[in-house]
């Protein structure tokens, strides 16, 4: 399941709701990405994420489908925010449900690595020095490359 939304969300409440009533799973791996108040030496007062309605959801669905093809998963959840957010707020939540821990851990890691470089969002940090657009770092590309060849869109 994918949700791209402007509203803040509670990662804990979302995870609880996603797990509620499920007795068929043995492992739930989740990752929450939050806004930091510092990037390098620059103070960050807020982060603004631009997205492309329709296209963003479709591209995230490709990432989710890749994970579900690659690992035996019972369900997946990706919640990603856009718009303006403040330090401490959650930007993204990824959950992978499986029978056992290994596929759950790996699938959550995989989905995050692909979201970092392939999800259509554009990030702008605003601090005392003005605005700065953030692009993927080499580390992000290296992280994604760990998963090997993957069909690109």
């Amino acid at each position: 399941m994918i949700r791209v939304q402007e509203e803040p969300f509670s990662p804990g409440a979302e995870l609880d709701a996603f797990l509620k009533g499920r007795t068929d799973i043995g492992a739930a791996a989740s990752f929450t990405g939050t806004v930091r108040d510092m990037t390098g030496a620059a103070d960050v007062a807020r982060l603004t994420l631009d997205h492309y309605p329709g296209f963003t959801e479709a591209e995230i669905a490709k990432i989710e489908n890749s994970a579900r093809t690659r690992w035996a998963l019972q369900d997946t959840l990706i919640i990603h925010r856009y718009g303006e957010m403040r330090p401490g707020e959650a930007i993204v939540l990824v959950v992978a449900l499986a029978a056992h821990r290994r596929p759950a851990f790996e699938a959550a890691d995989f989905m995050m690595d692909y979201l970092k470089t392939d999800a259509p969002f554009w990030k702008k940090e605003t601090g005392p020095g003005g605005d700065r657009w953030i692009e993927p770092r080499q580390q992000d590309r290296d992280d994604k490359a760990r998963w090997g060849a993957h069909k690109e869109s």
Binding site: F55, I60, L115, D118, W122, K123, W133, E135, P136
Partner: protein, 83 residues
Amino acid sequence: MPRLVYFGRLKDAAGRGEELFDLPPGVRTAADLVKALAARDEILGVALGAPSVRLAADKKIIDRDATITQSREIAFMPPMSGG
């Protein structure tokens, strides 16, 4: 007349998020469109010409040699960064 949509730093470079753009005669491919935009605004042209900028026509990724004469919406996207 297609709608052009700019994201991230390209929105700043274009000075707007979107615009309607009448394709000049002779514009057939995405690369032709970038050239036409560069003729109007050289700085924007350089930004759009960067190989790291990806293009989509009607929300499908396209190559720069793709024909865009029938496209309703063409998006210019700098490197993406989610999470």
